[in-house]
Symmetry: C2
Subunit: 460 residues, 2 copies
């Protein structure tokens, strides 16, 4: 079967099934599967059941692996037999919280199509990317009656809050997960027309920093000049975290950062379009360590970001209060060789030792930290997927890195004993984790095509 | 009529009417008259009507002065005739917001009595203090059939959000407000057993500081190292506002602060009980400019407090976001000769000029700023009230200052052409503006007695 004909056939299949596919995708998006917020528990569990049923109907053996948190959907298709390789595909069905809700143009759980884009929480991350995988498997099964290789699916429900549940059960599931290749379908492309595979992602460690002053909120007139305001203490400590050049000032923070390899050096030599960035996001890329190029800062350097800050009165008008507490949420993105626990401890020590007298500091390290991972560009999996990308996009596949993190990847790769390939159809301006997240119908199609073709290419 | 007998009689009257009085006080407290939050408009208006009716029933001529915001209740009793002086009494019927709601032991608008204290929003500030004034007027009228001096009442509904409405109409109401003395009943005592009048309050100017980075929230992995996080910019600028000794670093901030007078110097020589402060509030008094004593810092020095800070994710768990915006609410307390508008401009300029490149800064100065006011300790009004305090407490009256602000006082004093006396029954640990605000029934009684006796003493 010739590739061009196969691709043509797959495109026809996509178009024939498109209406029903979008219907199913919208159903998937309507589940409020916010894993970090306990109020959404029943919706998150219902979402897992829906995915499990979808895959069961295709012909997969489905198991809902129970964890201390949300279940992981494990799917297995082994009818290609032992002569064919096994591809394990990772996705997640949980999504990020939606606030600030008032900035969404349409409600986050009522998918809305505008100019070829689907707007919804999870439209891209990761329901959109999970859905084109499921659609590819369904279409191949329906049209050809079978899959050419063995496929395992691992679709978890706690990626957005640290993958603690899956991490907990991984060592008991080694036999089930065993595979030749592991495709992490949660990444993206630099531009809509540029096919690319991701060779590395950053690690992460996240924490809460809480400062307590008086035991209750107090009046800023009666107490101003007496009580040490915890917001002042908080801003003082947080402002010390970086120097004017953007370098993180925590002693030891960069100790384990290694020199770039030639492959990495070549990747960051890709052009970064600062003007396009400013147009897309409304601000110049002036964050991070200014002595490095933008791509090096985002892909190859560790960062520290304050993801949230809160204390005192935040409503309309004014309230003359000195709050009892103020807090910040901080996360560090890590590069290979940096250990999340060690970095967590260094940050904790820095925050505590710089907190002024008269207030109390606490630091809580969130579960779900993970190391950075860089993959081998010459592996069979990477080659098969890059071939699929080139066919679908009719352009040479580039190799990029990502500043983001998927903490479970290292553990999942070890448990399954497989070669990792990091891929996806995300674009930098999809607004994942933000209001008005969206994903293009064209990318649902391209994702469907790439997954389908890669499965065919991997067959012996 | 001998003072001791009169005091005894007033105490008997209080006790006889106590149950009904507490019932009325609780009714007053149940109105959710939060002036800064538009959702509470009907409750705030209903509260004004209730106060107006209470005073009408006593025998006052009542006018609800309409303003661009909430009405001011103006009450007039002129039957003592032109030979007697006129006392204008100021209170307010609006209250502070109640969040964080979960820290209240009982709901803020369901008054609850525990150990002789009434817990509710406004229990002290200012409904409690307003109520004992109304109760004194009612009791004197009912028992004696008349008041010995002329009384005017000015009870406004926007003190907690800047008194903009009353300020707006003041110049048209000069004739109505004309009085010999002006009693501002919104202050307090250093200790429950120490009678005291307040000789000065601080001024205030309040503002919002908003920093904007990208036009939407973005992902801290995909953008960490690229985008300049507005929370980092915010903490950087805010941390620059004071030096390690607690001094505000804004150029010109202290330029107009004048030397203390001997009276002021003597007031701040009062002992400050740092241990009692720590026991009451759970933290040492380590705020403000450390080179000055605690009382000087709170009474005689200007301060700058961050009353609120917000940006990014503040919920449970974690969200790896770089927010589009971060903001802080800032207020300065001012001392005599400092001009609120000038200080507002100095702070604005400092915040904007220190905001790093790559993000945008905005500063919005709230309406309702006001100058500090120091009163004459030898005025007739101060003397009459200090005599009343000494009778009721059976102890010498002290003269203190307050770190708080009542911005309308300067304007009201000018409009009414009257001698100001600042007084009240508040205590430092009443938790005004905070969860679990409370006020003692014993202080309702003492406030009732002081107001009643001062009215009698002022009669010629």
């Amino acid at each position: 079967m010739k590739n061009t004909n196969t691709l043509k056939e797959l495109k026809e299949l996509f178009n024939r099934n498109k209406d029903k596919a979008l219907q199913d995708y919208f159903t998937f998006l309507r589940f409020k599967s916010i894993s970090s917020e306990p109020d959404f528990k029943s919706q998150t569990l219902a979402c897992a059941e829906w995915v499990a049923n979808y895959l069961r109907e295709i012909g997969f053996d489905i198991d809902l692996w129970q964890t201390p948190g949300y279940p992981t959907i494990f799917g297995n298709y082994d009818k290609a037999g032992p002569s064919q390789p096994t591809l394990l595909i990772y996705n997640h069905y949980d999504v990020q919280p939606v606030d600030p809700l008032d900035l969404w143009q349409t409600p986050p759980f009522e998918p809305n199509q505008r100019n070829g884009q689907i707007y919804a929480r999870g439209a891209q991350d990761n329901k959109g990317q999970c859905f084109y995988v499921m659609l590819a498997l369904k279409t191949l099964m329906q049209h050809y009656g079978k899959l050419p290789i063995n496929i395992k699916l691992c679709i978890e429900g706690e990626e957005e809050c640290g993958s603690a549940g899956l991490s907990e059960i991984l060592k008991d599931k080694r036999d089930h997960l065993k595979a030749d290749y592991l495709a992490i379908v949660d990444l993206g492309l630099p531009k809509p027309t540029t096919p690319a595979l991701t060779l590395g992602i950053r690690g992460i460690v996240a924490m809460d920093f809480i400062i307590t002053g008086t035991k209750s909120d107090i009046h800023s007139g009666s107490h101003g000049g007496l009580a040490y305001n915890p917001i002042h203490a908080l801003t003082k400590v947080l402002a010390m975290l970086r120097d004017p050049s953007g370098k993180i000032t925590i002693p030891g923070f960069y100790d384990d950062v290694v020199m770039l390899s030639p492959k990495e050096r070549s990747a960051i030599s890709l052009e970064f379009d600062a003007k396009a960035y400013e147009e897309a996001f409304g601000a110049k890329p002036t964050g991070g360590e200014l002595e490095y190029s933008p791509l090096e800062r985002n892909w190859m350097r560790p960062t520290l970001e304050i993801n949230g800050i809160s204390g005192g009165y935040g409503g309309d008008g004014f309230k003359t209060v000195i709050p009892s507490k103020a807090f910040a949420k901080i996360s560090c993105r890590l590069v290979p060789k940096q250990d999340p626990q060690k970095i967590g401890q260094l940050v904790t020590q820095f925050l505590k030792s710089n907190t002024p007298e008269g207030v109390e500091a606490e630091v809580y390290i969130h579960p779900g930290s993970g190391k950075a991972m860089h993959t081998r560009p010459d592996s069979k999996a990477v080659k098969a997927f890059s071939e699929a990308y080139e066919e679908v996009f009719q352009a040479p596949c580039e190799f990029i890195y990502s500043g983001a993190s998927i903490p479970i990847v290292t553990e999942l790769s070890a448990a399954s004993g497989s070669e990792v390939v990091l891929l996806g159809m995300g674009l930098p301006d999809d607004l994942i984790h933000a209001p008005n997240e969206h994903f293009g119908v064209d990318r649902i199609e391209k994702g469907f095509l790439v997954i389908s073709r890669a499965i065919q290419i991997l067959a012996k």
